[in-house]
Symmetry: C2
Subunit: 220 residues, 2 copies
């Protein structure tokens, strides 16, 4: 039987189960026993493959960060190449967001869980600084560079703050809390990945323009 697909190796099943549970309940809200049960493996295997709990969390978090970083960097490089090195604000923001959307649109549950986890980590005062810095800040610095080049007259402080607001808007949406659905009485759904970025991009671009390209003493 050559066309029999073997079950995923147990170490991978562990990572997938951990990803989902950490995204839902955070680091302390999840037990190794809970992960083992969800993965259908023995508890002792977690220790064998990944060592202590914190190490397992880091492996889960890093696994897809590298893939996402590469996709985003490629999108930025492409935008720069196709614009003769002068990408528009829309192109820069899109290069940051569209790769996320592409992963979500594959329907892969693993990516949905992972992105919710990123939303959780980004808002955690304990995990946020260290994990986001290690995994994403090198790439974010590259995007900030592109923004500075696009708006050379802008106060850098305003670019960082605008990025912070941008990051918050994104991560709350990734976190999948269901709140907008409840607030809008079902009119809007967080899972509506098709349209959310079509709205987020103009929202964010308008904010950047206002903060970084309009000077209070000058026009408007």
């Amino acid at each position: 039987m050559p066309d029999y697909t073997p079950p995923a190796p147990k170490s991978e099943r562990i990572l997938n189960a951990a990803e989902e549970l950490f995204a839902l309940h955070g680091f302390d809200g999840v037990t190794l026993r809970g992960i083992a049960t969800a993965a259908g493996v023995d508890v002792a295997l977690l220790n064998y493959h990944f060592g202590v709990k914190k190490k397992l969390f880091e492996v889960v978090f890093m696994r897809r960060a590298e893939i996402l970083n590469e996709a985003r960097l490629n999108a930025l490089l492409e935008a720069e190449a196709s614009s003769g090195g002068r990408p528009s604000l829309e192109q820069i923001v899109s290069a940051f967001l569209r790769p996320i959307q592409r992963f979500q649109l594959t329907g892969d549950e693993g990516w949905r869980n992972y992105l919710a986890l990123v939303g959780w980590v980004n808002s955690s005062s304990v995990w946020g600084e260290e994990m986001m810095h290690k995994s994403f800040d090198p790439l974010v610095a590259r995007f900030i560079e592109a923004l500075k080049k696009n708006m050379p007259d802008a106060d850098p402080q305003r670019i960082y703050w605008a990025y912070q607001f941008f990051s918050g808007a994104l991560t709350l949406t990734l976190a999948q809390t269901g709140r907008i659905g409840r607030l809008s009485d079902g009119l809007c759904r967080e899972s509506d990945v098709e349209t959310v970025y079509d709205l987020m991009i103009p929202f964010v671009v308008a904010g950047f323009r206002k903060l970084c390209m309009e000077h209070p003493e000058g026009g408007a």
Copy 2:
């Protein structure tokens, strides 16, 4: 000795300690023993005053929500009164944010902890929906109403989404993760409450305008 200020009642010391620890570590990352130690009281007192752990969390979360809601509602009513019932977008967004800023500027550590806790809850898929809905959504609905009245031609879906981006930008800043400080190499500090809202308000207002007042088939 009539001008001797007594120490805060133990039940209040418990709430203050719980507020700080929950804000830092979330619900599951905090133990009742840790709270009792931080408050300088016996563990059994937590149970005596507040019952089970979840109930204590809810009391902590509700305590200041009501104060904040009232301040925000008053700010909105004032904006409506002073504008003949037609507050500008800036006025509405300011009525939502400036009361938070006022509480932060008092320097009261309790408010800083509480607002970080709100940031954490808003991004939690377990706690976010229920707690935010119960504590804040009635007031938020009132603000959405004001936004709809200000932009009667806007697609309501776009108003809800813009609010979602707004809410994310705010809560990430409240969460006090220290990330923007690290990313900007110390150039920006989350604790710089004096200026952050002066930037957040125009950022958000520009986003609302773009999403809700410009029609793709029409101008710009």
